[in-house]
Amino acid sequence: MNANSDNLIQQSQNVENVESNNTIVSIQSLSKSYWREKFEIPVLKNISFDIPKGEFLALMGPSGSGKTTLLNLIAGIDKPSDGKIFVNNVDISLMGESQLANWRTNCIGFIFQFYNLIPVLNAYENVELPLLLTKLSKKERRERVELVLNIVGLSDRMDHSPKQLSGGQQQRVAIARAIVTDPLLIVADEPTGDLDKHSAEEIMLLLQELNAELNKTIIMVTHDPRAAEKAHSIRHFDKGELS
């Protein structure tokens, strides 16, 4: 990791650095197209909007409208075709590959629809995974992992493998993994999409709690109106445009 990336990450983590404005994500004239063979598939068309710090935002819209694409761009796992994305005043579209990887470890917690836990790691090890990329000692890692597993209510399941956990429990492990590095931003792509009603409700309560009590900014894509209800604000998407 070079000094430059250290600097950028520090800058984006350093809340005081942000000039009094309350914006954590600023999207400016963002466009994204995919190329398949020679055909351009426009997915996002010239989108601009800001997300304030501490927000719990739900993105809704029909399938294929570009919700996941937008989330991926904000999380820095995809590159915009045009426009800028500022996260904590840092333009992440300018970062290089490994710089961005490092930035993701420190600044982003990603929650997937299908949990995406590593099947050969137990709950503890799955949560610890992002911390392996940090300088934390084994003891510090243990403290962090135990803390977040406690937050998601799975302290007693640390040595269970994903196979031994229900869908709702797996998603809670995934949430623990997403918050273990204490990121600036939690992005969740249909986190309840694969869960039964009861489990979905529990997950939504957990996200609400993270937002309300730990003041985490959450951007969540969802199909489920009941899930969206739990958010502060809802933005609708259609055919790559905000409505």
């Binding site: 796992i77 050969v120 993994r177």
Partner: protein, 387 residues
């Protein structure tokens, strides 16, 4: 290092496949080790030759005899130290399968020229000179046939017909030098020659080849030429060469077989690589999505590559270690069973080094495709990957 621990976790994944892969690698490494050991055993004959030992044989082939009278003429050439001679006797001892070299030799000089072949007790050597039918055997043969001083070895002559009775008068050994062939049986040439004379045989007063030591190994070519020039126009012209070259001329008879074995030993490495590559490609394909998830979390392409190569080399090494470990008792068994054909049958350090190099090489080569899979695939495509 923290990250490399993840390699071990992956071994929980497909235990049967992992077991089969490691087994396959183990067997191929074992086959490689055995083959290299056989090859080494072939070459060993040439390898044990002393550089200052020179052999003079009939120019046409070593099966044609030379007059025993050449001895003094050879001994008179400048640079030649001690001269001895030997005749290939062979014959059948017990049955045809009991193959070990049996030679008629000049007892006064033989063990001086072959100084690494030690006869411990002076008396044994003395008895070989004085007892008409005395013989000395290598300790390996003595042990195998339980031969003691005074025992009679009955040999049915084939090159030299008749029933021959030899009395064991002593033993020789390499005294721990593993390169010394301890399977010879040698007896007094006079015993053979007397009976040939009685039969009025043309072979009487002839020997198989001369062996002598020289002063200065830099003069080998010059001295050899001088010997051969001496007998150039005689009935029995000679060919003189170092013991090494002489031994190699035996080996060259089977050169194409050896070349084939050499080739096969490297084909085996190729098979090993394919076995491992197959496993690695399968498992990396299954993990495309996991790699994408790990990258999302912040693992770099370099981290992932480290994990893949680490896993590949680790599997390869485990298989290699198992294969090598089982090679040792097998080689020992073969060495015992074939000690007459391969007096020197041991796993060479060089074989182990080649093994390790190729095992690591196979590990790296096997990860090429998985590494390409994992690094070329964008995170977004990886996450969308079904399977």
């Amino acid at each position: 290092m923290k990250i490399l621990k993840l390699v071990l976790k992956n071994f929980k994944r497909h235990k049967l496949r992992l077991f089969l892969t490691i087994g396959g690698i183990g067997i191929t490494v074992m086959a490689f080790t055995l083959l290299r050991t056989v090859l080494y055993a072939w070459y060993a004959g040439a390898d044990v030759a002393a550089a200052d030992r020179v052999i003079t044989r009939h120019a046409v082939s070593f099966i044609f005899p030379l007059p025993v009278a050449y001895k003094h003429q050879i001994a008179n050439i400048k640079g030649v130290k001690k001269v001895t001679y030997a005749t290939w006797f062979q014959g059948i001892y017990k049955d045809k399968n009991q193959f070990f070299p049996r030679m008629a030799i000049e007892p006064e000089t033989f063990f001086d020229v072959y100084h690494e072949y030690k006869v411990k007790e002076k008396k044994h050597l003395q008895d070989l000179i004085t007892k008409r039918n005395g013989c000395i055997v290598g300790v390996k043969i003595a042990k195998e046939y339980n031969l003691k001083i005074g025992d009679i070895m009955v040999v049915d002559g084939d090159i030299y017909p008749g029933t021959w009775q030899f009395e064991v008068v002593g033993f020789y050994s390499g005294e721990g030098n593993k390169k010394i062939d301890e399977t010879w049986m040698v007896f007094n040439w006079n015993y053979l020659n007397e009976s040939l004379k009685l039969q009025n045989s043309n072979s009487a007063n002839h020997i198989g080849w001369y062996v002598f030591k020289i002063d200065d190994i830099k003069k080998t070519a010059e001295i050899s030429n001088n010997v051969d020039n001496l007998f150039k126009n005689s009935f029995a012209p000679t060919k003189t060469e170092t013991e090494q070259a002489f031994n190699q001329s035996f080996i060259s008879m089977s050169e194409s077989i050896i070349a084939a074995l050499e080739f096969i030993s490297f084909v085996i490495i190729g098979i090993l690589t394919l076995v491992l590559a197959n496993t690695m490609v399968m498992s990396s394909r299954e993990r495309i999505k996991e790699y994408a998830v790990m990258k999302t979390i912040g693992f770099t392409a370099k981290n992932i590559v480290t994990l893949i190569i680490g896993e590949s080399i680790f599997i390869s090494l485990i298989g290699g270690i198992i294969g090598t470990l089982i090679s040792f008792p097998i080689v020992e068994g073969i060495a015992e069973a074939l000690s007459r054909f391969f007096p020197i049958f041991i796993i060479q350090p060089s074989t182990l080094i080649i093994s390790v190099v190729f095992i690591i090489f196979a590990g790296i080569v096997s990860s090429i495709v998985p590494v390409m899979h994992a690094t070329k695939m964008s995170i977004v495509d990886g996450l969308r990957h079904i399977g």
